[in-house]
């Protein structure tokens, strides 16, 4: 299997190198998406299926679509101009030395890393956590504070974007590709099915709120880009959208406070009820992640034009 790993490593290096070194922004973004897919395969090889699912949906799909949408909004002069790398030939020697130095130091540091691991600790706590799959148990119960803060970061990102400008209407893709909106609508039930499957599977196998939210987010972005989700731009639905965006964080906070009331420690869930709490948080977090990923594409605050 070393050959497969070698090929994957070479592919990752090649796509990353083409993304960063060759001229042309469009080509760079396309290479970044290919890099995301290669990374997803590497996660599978490293036995990290949860990370692979999230990377395939977010790293390859959503980030690439975000970048391409943003490039499409730029004026043509900005899109085509590549900054002249006239300084490069002069600085190529110090840069090479720097690269080699950083690489060598990092490789030495990685090889010398101690590997303590928390395998046993997690295994002993797993029966009390309310989930059978270790990663889900960690994300939603054992280290739930991390996830709470992460949802807060996402909500802060949405708030920042909304405070910058008004939403940019989606490009009229249906004019160039008449079949695309229909295809997106036909595919959406499939996205919903996969979303429910991952969400349900999350408590006992790889899956859970993050891959599920990322997947439905990717499907939603497809609908958004084809102009099939008009309600998100309308003023009447703005309040509902805000509540839905905040639902994941609110439920997380309620859970943390409930833990404080019941066991005396913040987010200390009693083992008897932990399973129900985990399912509730999982559903709310997945929905919030889906909607937040979709609102990233608006690049601004919707519902103010009327």
């Amino acid at each position: 299997m070393l050959v497969v790993d070698l090929l994957l490593a070479l592919a990752a290096l090649a796509t990353a190198g083409q993304c960063l070194l060759l001229p042309g922004l469009f080509r760079a973004v396309a290479n970044l998406m290919a890099f995301g897919l290669v990374m997803a395969l590497i996660w599978v090889r490293l036995e990290a299926p949860d990370v692979a699912l999230a990377e395939a949906a977010i790293g390859a799909g959503i980030t690439g679509a975000l970048l391409l949408t943003a490039l499409g909004q730029l004026p043509a002069s900005q899109r085509d101009i590549q900054p002249a790398r006239d300084g490069l030939p002069r600085r190529i020697i110090p840069i090479t030395i720097l690269v080699l130095l950083i690489t060598g130091m990092l490789w030495a540091a990685i090889l010398g890393l101690p590997k303590p691991g928390l395998v046993e600790e997690v295994a002993t706590l797993l029966p009390e956590s309310g989930a059978e799959h270790a990663v889900t148990a960690l994300l939603l119960n054992l280290r739930g504070i991390d996830t709470l803060l992460e949802i807060t970061v996402m909500l802060c990102a949405v708030a920042t974007i909304w405070s910058l400008q008004q939403a940019i209407p989606p490009p009229t893709l249906s004019h160039y590709y008449p079949g695309l909106p229909t295809l997106a609508r036909w595919l959406h039930p499939l996205f919903l099915l996969m979303f429910s499957y991952f969400l349900w599977q999350g408590t006992h196998a790889p899956g859970g709120a993050f891959p599920a939210g990322a997947l439905l987010g990717a499907g939603g972005v497809l609908l958004l880009l084809t102009g099939s989700i008009a309600w998100m731009y309308q003023r009447a639905y703005n309040l509902l959208l805000r509540w839905l965006l905040a639902a994941g964080l609110l439920l997380f906070l309620i859970t943390a406070l409930a833990g404080l009331l019941m066991t005396g420690t913040l987010y200390g869930l009693p083992p008897r009820l932990a399973g129900y709490f985990i399912i509730a948080i999982e559903v709310a977090t997945a929905l919030s992640i889906t909607l937040m990923l979709m609102t990233f594409y608006l690049f601004g605050r919707p519902g103010a034009q009327q």
């Binding site: 490593a9 990752a12 999230a54 990377e55 975000l66 690489t103 590997k115 928390l118 280290r143 400008q165």
Partner: protein, 101 residues
């Protein structure tokens, strides 16, 4: 050179560790030398992928797979897409202002 790496067999883990180090070096240099903001954003994305690769590598212990770094990487992926979205929105605002600043 042989002395330093004499006890290091070429396994998948050393290979991916080397890949992570190379990716990190490449993207760090790009972050510092590229002038185009979007190119820098791409370099940041690749840098975060390299860091995630390192963290997942540390998860492979002799006792089995440590789920803690996996959970942290999942969190990190979502945070990095949030960063990308905010930077892109800032960038778009810069060019949609009249006159562009």
């Amino acid at each position: 050179m042989r002395l330093i790496f004499a006890d290091t067999a070429l396994t998948s883990e050393t290979l991916f560790a080397l890949l992570a180090a190379l990716l990190m070096a490449l993207s760090l240099v790009s972050v510092f030398t590229t002038r185009h903001l979007i190119r820098r954003l791409l370099a940041l994305n690749i840098l975060s992928s390299a860091v995630f690769l390192l963290m997942v590598l540390t998860a492979r212990t002799t006792d089995g797979i440590d789920p803690v770094p996996h959970a942290l990487v999942l969190t990190g992926i979502v945070v990095s897409v949030s960063t990308t979205a905010v930077v892109l929105a800032l960038y778009l605002r810069r060019y949609r202002m009249k006159p562009p600043c």
